[in-house]
Symmetry: none
Subunit: 203 residues, 4 copies
């Protein structure tokens, strides 16, 4: 029992270091952008030497890839918060707010947009996004078509599909608003969300 734990510990340490690097990198990427954040800066943020990073990641690109993967996973939980919430407007407004956090566990808007822009040039990213976005939308669609008793909105399957697209566009549009107009009046924004939701949830 002690030996297995020892070997596990080694792997755990490595995993811990990887996460430390990813968090540092993410912070740097948010603050300076993918390219402007050099390995030296990331290393400094992770409190280690640049060379050590290469023990855990093959290249800077591998770091970016790893962050993208992690964020794709995080994205799903972010959406779930939306339809598990009792008050859609409040939840969506919080989403708007959170787009600007630097918390590495939560998707950051600048990172999201830069990743998305990069997808138009990097096929690997592109196909990863296609898959993940379709799955995400399917989940939204399921929620909309579930019965009200089950916490859904009771829409027909067909309608749910269109509406899922609308909601996805709207929520991601909020990311852009969050970056370009962070001071956008909360009152008006909440009214807008409520209005939008009313249309989307109408049978």
């Amino acid at each position: 029992m002690s030996l297995p734990s020892s070997t596990t510990k080694l792997t755990q340490r490595a995993e811990l270091q990887r996460e430390r690097i990813l968090n540092a990198a993410q912070t740097c990427f948010i603050e300076h952008g993918f390219h402007a954040a050099g390995m030296a800066l990331i290393a400094q943020a992770a409190d280690m030497s640049p060379s050590l990073i290469y023990r855990y990641f093959d290249s800077k690109n591998a770091i970016i890839l790893a962050i993208v993967e992690r964020q794709v996973a995080n994205g799903r939980t972010a959406i779930r918060n939306l339809y598990y919430a009792p008050d859609f407007t409040a939840a969506a407004y919080e989403a708007f707010t959170q787009w600007r956090t630097a918390d590495p566990r939560i998707m950051n808007a600048a990172l999201f947009l830069e990743m998305t822009a990069e997808a138009s040039r990097n096929p690997t990213l592109a196909s990863a996004f296609v898959t993940s976005d379709q799955e995400l939308r399917a989940e939204i669609s399921n929620w909309l078509s579930a019965s009200v008793a089950d916490g859904g909105k009771g829409l027909s399957v067909e309608v749910a599909q269109w509406r899922a697209i609308c909601i996805q566009c709207f929520m991601e549009g909020l990311a852009i608003r969050a970056l370009r107009e962070p001071e956008l009046s909360p009152t008006k924004l909440k009214l807008a969300i409520t209005d939008f939701a009313a249309g989307m949830f109408a049978v």
Copy 2:
């Protein structure tokens, strides 16, 4: 008469050169991203030497700034196409399609997102966007609150304000969709737009 015309000609030529550079730069930025597109590449695309670019722009950053400014202006005309159009769905779908063009007169989605992400780091950009986006939204709002006879939707001024926010989010959300799921089913997308518009235009 000859001298003034000569100086005017020079200025005209200068303006022409600036535009040639901006067009070349924009193409390069779309294809490779802001940082990966080097001055050498831009110069080649503009069919001139890199040094000559510095006669017309102080730095690479100034080029980016100029493109942003130009695009801010273009953005307005893009939105206008929307409410001048008889068929909103068709117009919005065309907007989705055009987000991916490389035509320098039309806003490109990758460029738009990269610019937006950059705004979170560059205060100059940020304030430019705040102003331009507010103006844009005001225009949408005016359209929505104009009488049907005048080509508007006859909404109350208050409601029009919220709806303008919704429409802005939705249309920009389409930019993200255009990049991440370019193969998204046109049929479903059009249905989604129609559905969304129905809610937005309802009195």
Copy 3:
């Protein structure tokens, strides 16, 4: 006539720079070896910035390749000195001496050996050497089989072929001696050369 000369001048300058770099690189390679001579050192020796080197050569490897090519060409003239000379012993001894010069127009022994060793790992080099060495040997062979009246040694074509191999081995063996025993007694060495030549030139 004037314009062509102008364009020629530009090319001449570039060619001059290339040669300046090659000479500097060769000196550095001789003094420190291929790998230990960094671009910074070469640049310093050429009295220019490291980046400027990249205007004239694609990579450090391209520089090495260029030096090899140049030396392959030089090798031929070196051999020719041998059989144009009235006194073979004196000429061969001078060859021994010159193996250690740093003059970039003359093959240096350390460079020669390092290039040769590298050939066992780099196929491009390898095939370049095969060709050049065969041509070189053919020339020696022709010399040996030419009539005495024509400055040759009057050997049969067959014998000349073997002897050319012997001479090539011997002369290149001198390169190794020049490096490992630079203080080798000139007297004994000359006697050795004379003795060797007597055997080689005997009908």
Copy 4:
């Protein structure tokens, strides 16, 4: 009695480890060259961790030095094969062949040349070679001047000295041929060797 044996065992083990490292290093050096073969590669070839190597050698340079020393010793036995052999031509041709083996007990041509080139920059190496090469040549000389009854060639002591130089040059020249023209016709090469030997062994 137990303790001494224990320490002896340790020393034996240490010596074994050193040889394991040297063999691994030599293989790597032959395959990749001195500089391109990193400590990590050598360690992997020796099936141990890079850090452990430093328990047995002070530095990478020390490993190179040790290999050189070992090869200096091996060189002597290689030459002995030559004059112990009944058929000089066959023996010399085999030497040509063996210049390209990777067997760490036998001198490899690429290694030999790289070491020799290095000697022009490293005085320690240089003086080691001077000594060893002189001894080697003395041995050849003794062989040539020994009576035919004793397996020698019966040459005068004076002539033997020159001829030894010739033979050394020729045999080492074969190393260069082996690297640059490994496909050199065996038939012609053997004829060349025979011809050369005839001249060398003539009284």
